[in-house]
């Protein structure tokens, strides 16, 4: 009997960028050509060394993320895909960009038509362009290296290079941003007609310049407080570092989020995840794999993996990664998930999706009724108006607003 192969997603981490953005806490930093080439060597070695472990899998999606993968040359990106092609079987056979979803992130400031063509030739069939905003003032505040014009140019080149599946990354709740300014960016992006739009709210992460300026939580809560105290003259400096515009209030931020759904709905996009919108059939399969807990292998510095309910992460130490001859030794935090942990993940990851979590799938996965495990929690959350309970359990719009609170309830 022929063994049925399982689906695998692959994440490739490129930890380089031209310059760190002010909000970025991802594992990424500027590097010279020599360092990039050395890294590429180590990455290819890791892929080659690991591939044989995935003989029973076919690759359904690949995601080249970063950092900025497009700081690499088209040729270098091609070599990564070649290595994957050599080591793995892909859904749809040898034409790896045929049926599999091969996404690459691109910074508008680092692409030209030739590079995009090379990538398309190499098999990349989905491009995720980090626009973030289409207002130059905002882009400058974020510390982005590109301007709005660069994005439009990159988008055009991408279409010309034959990319039929493009995502545009946008950010809301930027410093000093008024809701209508955000909506302007949103409309302009939607006008271009990309297949997919991701719209995230800015989160002020520790260790970023924004954190230094705005402090934990972005000072939004404090600002609420300052507003509450208005007239008492306390904490009037809440929320912003010197010369920095204040972050929008929570109310404004929620307004932006609400309008994102409405406006993109009018353009024919459907919200399928907390921050992701797509035209029908263009939902990002790679991201879905995370939410649905399909197996995925991550390669590169600091990349995370989950295969067969074992999670691990590669070391984030570049020296260690480069010097490593045996992939096993860069794996850290290797952890086999208990049934309980699997259930927790099933719930808090699945709830991010608009379709929610299915009771049937839960039973199939664990041989237990969701109600017997989480009945009490769901009852409470439903009474609070945060989830709807049926064949599938879903977040209500308010539940989505406070999804952390809801998800934490599913932890044991």
């Amino acid at each position: 009997m022929k063994k049925i192969k399982r689906k695998l997603s692959i994440y490739i981490h490129i930890p380089f960028c031209i310059k760190k953005c002010n909000y970025c806490d991802f594992l990424s930093f500027p590097a010279g050509e020599r360092e990039r080439e050395r890294y590429l060597g180590a990455l290819l070695r890791e892929i080659e060394g690991e591939a044989h472990k995935y003989k029973d899998y076919f690759v359904d999606t690949v995601f080249l993320g970063g950092g900025t993968p497009t700081v690499l040359s088209g040729k270098q990106i091609g070599r990564v895909l070649e290595e994957l092609k050599a080591g793995f079987s892909f859904v749809g056979g040898s034409n790896i960009g045929g049926m599999a979803e091969i996404t690459m992130e691109a910074n508008p400031g680092t692409v030209d038509r030739e590079k995009l063509e090379q990538c398309r030739q190499a098999g990349v069939n989905r491009l995720s362009i980090g626009a973030q905003s289409l207002r130059n003032q905002e882009l400058a505040l974020l510390g982005r290296i590109h301007r709005a014009e660069d994005f439009y140019q990159a988008y055009r080149w991408a279409r010309e290079a034959g990319f039929g599946n493009i995502n545009v990354d946008l950010m809301a709740a930027l410093p000093g941003q008024k809701p209508e300014e955000y909506l302007e960016t949103l409309r302009k992006a939607a006008d271009l007609g990309p297949e997919h739009i991701s719209a995230y709210s800015l989160i002020v992460e520790e260790g970023t310049p924004f954190y230094d300026w705005y402090g934990e939580g972005g000072g939004r809560e404090r600002q609420e407080k300052a507003n509450g105290y208005a007239g008492r003259g306390e904490e009037d400096s809440a929320g912003a570092g010197e010369g920095m515009p204040a972050l929008p209030s929570e109310e404004e931020e929620r307004l932006m989020d609400e309008w994102t759904g409405k406006i993109l709905g009018e353009y024919g996009y459907r919200r399928y995840e907390i921050s992701n919108y797509a035209r029908p059939g263009y939902e990002c399969r790679h991201n879905m794999a995370y939410w649905k807990r399909y197996d995925y292998a991550g390669f590169g510095l600091g990349a995370a993996s989950m295969v067969g309910n074992v999670r691990w992460k590669n070391s984030a130490d570049m020296g260690k990664y480069l010097g490593c001859m045996e992939a096993e030794t860069v794996k850290e935090e290797v952890c086999e998930l208990s049934i309980q942990e699997q259930m927790e993940e099933f719930m808090f990851l699945g709830l991010r999706l608009t379709e929610g979590v299915g009771k049937k799938e839960f039973y199939e996965a664990f041989g237990e009724d969701m109600a017997s495990v989480y009945g009490k929690v769901m009852e409470k959350l439903e009474s609070q108006g945060l989830v709807t309970d049926g064949e599938r359990v879903r977040l209500t719009p308010y539940g989505r607003d406070v999804s952390n609170y809801v998800m934490a309830e599913f932890l044991f």
Partner: protein, 604 residues
């Protein structure tokens, strides 16, 4: 063993203002006399508890016997008794002093005399101790040893020109100190042939030996088999072992006789039977009178202590029981709170004592505690002539039954440089202080005397004092007595429910201000819920202040990048963990630290 030549014994202690280098000097003396090599020497040998070392304070009296070969070629026995260094432990200090014949006064060469320097010197002189000064930290760039010497002579009247000039930290001048001990501190008096009369200056509980009594033999002798009587408590026991104190260990010997400092074990089960200050005598041949100065130590500060996890109540009880074995000043009795469940009302000598017990419970017994706002004992006189000593605000009778109330008042002495006199007087005024006097110690420093209500200083008076004087003010106090006062109970309502554990007694004139600040503080402490939460302060059912915790609008994880689910889960876990540290009151979750927030009303 041939009996020890009484004339070669020196019993002494080191007294100093906090941070003037008392424990460091003790370390050096021990090191110098060769008890420990410096390699074995952990800094501050006498501070046994981790907590003591960390905080740089001495909580329990520690004693060590050392042998010193003096310049005259003779060997001397030094009993160095390290005394607790905080006003909370004043009584313990006075008993330790009573066990000595002399004291070394350490004065910081840069700071000179401080309030506690004076308080300690007077205490030592009260006990007829021979005091000689040493000037410490002479190697500091800011040291002014001559000025300090003059100051000691002018203010205290102690001969100081030949005071040893030392740096305890760097081991400079320690020999001089040891020689001065031999020459300036008298040998103990007393006769071994008289009936036994020994002063208890500390005791601790050991799970093998039972209670170990630290004592100074004033008259007579004691050895294994002596039947002893504790004169104040009336407890009797047969001596199992006597001995003296090596560094960090007990060294048994045959007999303790007049002039000696040592320990007695007698299979005593409870430290309460061996009260500090009590006199030990021979039950069969008792001395005529106990030694003077015994008093029962009473708790001054009270608070509720509750296990964060209600199921840990028995653990908390066991832990308190064990701590009390070593700390007779710790009192506790069970109480219940609607908000917090089962716990204990605990009594302490002062706020530092409270904090220490709290930290020890958390660290040594691994307990997670919720502590309510500390209060003092109020005297409530009812219309029917009855008087209640109130330690828990929740037990305050209905106002209609109360004739009047009294609160404890302390006499406080504050030493401050003249530039800060204004702001310190202002602080005392704010805390309802009654100005008594101001004396200039010299041109730049003054000693302020105030009467202050104890409940105004148990919160953060010390911190406020430090911050308003840039650290230069020092402070000492003594309980003076009770005075009538206009007091009210301030209640806090969260989501319209009264939270008994947040109630406290406050002077009527400060009620509004405190209530308002309390609401503001709680607003910061209580996380946003799915619904709006009103926080109200009320006196006698009348709302005097209100704040609102707005409903939660947003709490979303954005990007789940590169499939790093573990990181996101950790965030959720942190959130969940945070909730575990909360107390559910009605349908509001209140963080445990909110119950202490009344303590920090004067932050900012």
């Amino acid at each position: 063993m041939s009996s020890i030549d009484q004339s070669k014994i020196r019993n002494f202690c080191i007294i100093a203002h906090i941070d003037h280098g008392k424990s460091t000097l003790a370390d050096r003396i021990i090191e110098k006399t060769g008890l420990l090599t410096s390699r074995e020497m952990q800094s501050q040998v006498l501070d046994n508890m981790d907590l003591e070392r960390e905080r740089g304070i001495t909580i329990k009296a520690q004693t060590v016997r050392i042998i010193y070969r003096a310049m005259d070629g003779e060997e001397y026995i030094f009993n160095l008794i390290d005394t607790p260094g905080h006003v909370d432990f004043n009584y313990e200090v006075s008993r330790s002093l009573a066990a000595c014949d002399g004291a070394i006064l350490v004065v910081d060469a840069a700071q000179g005399i401080e309030a506690q320097t004076l308080a300690n010197v007077y205490l030592a002189l009260d006990h007829d101790l021979d005091v000689f000064p040493v000037i410490n930290k002479i190697d500091l760039p800011s040291a002014q040893p001559q000025w300090v010497k003059d100051e000691i002579e002018d203010i205290i009247g102690l001969e100081a020109q030949d005071a040893p000039m030392i740096s305890a930290k760097n081991g400079i001048g320690i020999e001089d100190v040891l020689e001065a001990v031999v020459k300036k501190i008298p040998a103990p008096s007393g006769s071994a042939d008289k009936p036994l009369q020994a002063l208890i200056f500390d005791s601790l509980y050991d799970s093998y030996k039972g209670v170990i009594v630290f004592c100074r033999i004033k008259e007579g002798r004691v050895k294994r088999g002596t039947e002893i009587l504790m004169m104040a408590t009336g407890a009797k026991a047969e001596v199992v072992e006597v001995g003296y104190f090596g560094p960090g260990q007990f060294i048994p010997c045959n007999e303790l006789s007049a002039g000696m400092v040592g320990y007695i074990t007698a299979s005593i089960k409870n430290v309460k039977d061996t009260a500090v200050g009590d006199t030990v005598t021979d039950a069969k041949n008792p001395c005529a009178e106990p030694l003077p100065g015994y008093k029962k130590v009473n708790s001054m500060v009270f608070c509720g202590m509750y296990p964060a996890d209600g199921a840990k109540y028995p653990d908390l009880r066991d832990a308190l029981e064990k701590l009390q074995l070593n700390d007779a000043a710790l009192q506790y009795e069970p109480e219940t709170s609607v908000a917090l469940g089962f716990g204990f009302r605990c009594g302490f000598l002062g706020l530092l004592h409270l904090e220490i017990i709290q930290e020890r419970l958390e660290r040594e017994y691994n307990l997670d505690l919720v502590t309510t706002a500390p209060g003092v004992i109020y005297r409530v006189y009812k219309n029917n002539g009855e008087m209640i000593e109130l330690t828990n605000p929740a037990n305050l009778p209905d106002p209609s039954e109360i004739a009047y109330m009294e609160e404890p008042i302390v006499s406080a002495e504050i030493m401050v440089t003249t530039e800060f006199i204004g702001s310190i007087m202002e602080l005392c005024q704010e805390r309802r202080g009654k100005y008594l006097s101001m004396e200039y110690m010299e041109e730049t420093r003054a000693l302020l005397k105030y009467e202050l209500p104890l409940n105004e200083i148990i919160y953060d008076f010390f911190d406020a004092l430090k911050s308003r004087s840039r650290g230069y003010a020092s402070f000492d106090y003594d309980l003076k007595g009770y005075e009538e006062s206009k007091l009210v109970k301030l209640d806090i309502l969260i989501n319209r429910e009264e939270v008994d554990a947040l109630s406290f007694i406050v002077h009527a004139d400060s009620a509004y201000e405190r209530g308002r600040k309390m609401c503001e503080k709680l607003k910061d402490e209580i996380p946003r819920h799915l619904f709006e939460i009103p926080i109200q302060a009320a006196v006698g059912g009348k709302i005097i202040a209100r704040e609102t915790v707005k409903a939660m609008r947003k709490d979303v994880l954005a990007k789940c990048y590169g499939g790093d689910i573990t990181r996101k889960k950790k965030l959720l876990e942190k959130q969940k963990e945070g909730k575990k540290r909360m107390r559910q009151i009605g349908n509001v979750e209140i963080p445990q630290k909110a119950f202490m927030s009344v303590l920090k009303l004067d932050d900012k």
